[in-house]
Each structure stands twice: as C-alpha cells, then as structure tokens.
Amino acid sequence: MTARIAAGIVSLGLSVGTLACMDFYEVPVDVPIQAKLDVSMFKRVLVAGFLAGGSRAIDPNTETARLLRSQLRTKSDLKVIDADVLSLVDEMDRRATADLPISAAGNEGKIKNSKDMEAYEAIFNDKEFWKKIGEEYQSPLIVTGSVLFTEVSKSGMVSTVAPTAGPDGITTYREVQQFRDQKGFALDQKFVFIDGKTGSLLHSETLHSDTYYPSTQNTPALSAYFELMDKVLPTFLTTLNTQRIRGTRILIK
C-alpha cells in the first residue's frame, strides 16, 4: 500500500514536473461546423408558408413566415423572396372533395393537435405542387413546414426560493416546494426544405419547445410565441449556415 502511494506521488511529481518544463502557447481557435444542408446551388430562398394549427390567438402561419424571412435577410447569404404567404391548409382543403373534407371542423380551428396535422402533411411530398411554385420564383430553396402553437397547462410541485427573516433580522433564502397551477404555450415546429427546381424534399427537422407561467400571470400569446421561436431559431439557421465555434486550445512543444 505504502509502495503504491509512493509510486502515485512520484508519478504525480513527474507529470507536474513535465508540465512545468513544457513550453505551451494558448491560441484562439474558430472552429467551423458545417451547415446541415448544402445550399450553395441556391441564390434565393422562398419562405412559402406553413401548415398552422392550435391556438387561434395568433396566426402562426403569417408570424412564422414573417419571422423567418427577417432572420434569413440578416443571417443568410440567400436573397429572400417577398411573396404572399401561402395557406397550405386551404390548399389541402381545396384538393379534398366537398363531400369529404380533410377536417370537418369548418374554418375555426381545423388543426387542433398533431394528429389533425398529420392528415395535411402529405403536401410536403407533392413534388409537382412545389415544382410549380419553384418555377414561379426561378427555382429557389423553398422553406415550409408546420407550426402547431397550443395552449397548455399543468399542475404540480414547483421549487421556488422564499425569503425567511431570522431572529437577528437577517433575511435568508431557502428553496421551498409549492403546489402551483401553471399555464403556458407549446410550439411543435417542423421545418421542411424543398428544392424549388425539382420539388423534392431536401431536409426536414422537427422541434418542440414549451413555456409555462403561473396561472395568475396573463402572458399574451404573441409574446409567448416569440419566446418559443427564439429557442428554435438557432437550429433553423444552422441548417443553412455554417456555424463557427470560438474557443482556445493549447499548442505545446
């Protein structure tokens, strides 16, 4: 045992000694992480529109198209095409026969959940439809997908920090568990990237994000929507753009 400890100490001493003698240079590095999608063959991008559903408090189709266009304008080299936002839900309903609509819910809240959404998602594989749209705008990269923005609620134990005044008058803080009702919003977002020349699907990415507030707090739906989109936007942008990660490394002699 003593021999092992002695060997450990000698080994530690040697490695410390080696590091102490070693010349080292810290250098900044800027490491590129390649974009998931090679968009070099496209010069333009069309954010066409989205299958939208869930809460009627906002129009997720228009809001998402507007937000993505503004993000792409500043953070991508592609030229963003200004065009009317397509209503893909209406497009799918037009295709369905009058006797057999995809959804029988009427105009109000056609898509309420992800199961309703699935029935409409066939549009992403309709090459002819996307090819036709692509021809209108000189074969751009087409960004589409689905947005399901729903109101959610949950009840349960939430940990909070509560102040406690001690006998000496000093306030201390401790973590306490409280039962709370919470409400909030969930965003189920699917981004679909389509080649405007062939109409074929290039890449798709599904993301989920949710946020909860105390039930007493009145948070506007639009504000919650932007909060949730802030979380998914980096993933969307890195699909198209090469990202660079800055850090440091140690060169040694």
């Binding site: 080994s11 490695s15 080696t18 590091l19 070693m22 080292f24 240079y25 250098v27 590095v29 800027d30 490491v31 590129p32 992480i33 390649q34 998931k36 990415e205 890195t238 990660i245 850090g247 490394r249 140690i250 060169l251 040694i252 002699k253």
Partner: protein, 117 residues
C-alpha cells in the same frame, strides 16, 4: 555472457540515442515554426509544419497534439480525431492534450449528430 549482453545493449543505446535526439531536434524546429504560423492565424501553413514534425519524429506527442488542433481549425474533424488519438496514445497523462481533446470532442460529437440526422 551477461557482461556481453550489457555491452551490446549499451552500444545499441549509444548509437541510437543521438539519432533519435537529432530527429526530435529537427521535429522541434518544425513545431516551433508551426506555432509561430498558428499564432499569426496562418493555420494551413502551421498544419504543414506540424505534419513535417510528425513525419520526422512519429513519437513526438506534442507535434500530434498541435497537428490535431490545426486540423480542427481547418474543419478536418476526422483527421483531427486521429491525430489526437495518436497524441494521447503517446502521452496519455499529458493534461494539455487531454484538455484539448475534451474540448474537441464536444464539437466533434455535435458535428456527427448533425450528420446522423
């Protein structure tokens, strides 16, 4: 018999040590120059120097470590991983190499997750 063996071993050591030392000295010169290039952000040139250093002395862990960093900076992640593996195989206890490798793995794993999707 034993004395002869000792003599032979000493002779071999005496002959090979200067040759190895020469190799290391030359490799160090490449590494020095590579570090200068890297500090001036001339990474392609730095990588060339580190490659020469590893060719000159393949047992030089520092050269492999520096080469791995160079490859990383150029986005050649698979080459960087091989170079880090080599550096760690030669000097597993080196904390500088381990730290560099741990930081690289975060990026490497992330990049591979993206490719798998």
């Amino acid at each position: 018999m034993r004395t002869r063996l000792w003599l032979a071993a000493t002779l071999i050591l005496a002959l090979t040590t200067p040759a190895l030392a020469d190799r290391r000295t030359e490799a160090k010169e490449y590494v020095d120059w590579g570090i200068t290039c890297a500090q001036k952000n001339l990474w392609p040139q730095a990588v060339l120097q580190f490659v020469k250093a590893t060719e000159k002395d393949p047992s030089y862990a520092a050269a492999w470590n520096n080469l791995a960093i160079g490859y990383e900076q150029l986005g050649r992640f698979d080459d960087a991983r091989k170079a880090y593996d080599k550096a760690l195989a030669l000097d597993r206890s080196n904390q500088f190499i381990r730290t560099n490798y741990d930081q690289f793995r975060e990026i490497y794993d992330r990049q591979n997750r993206r490719r798998d999707r």
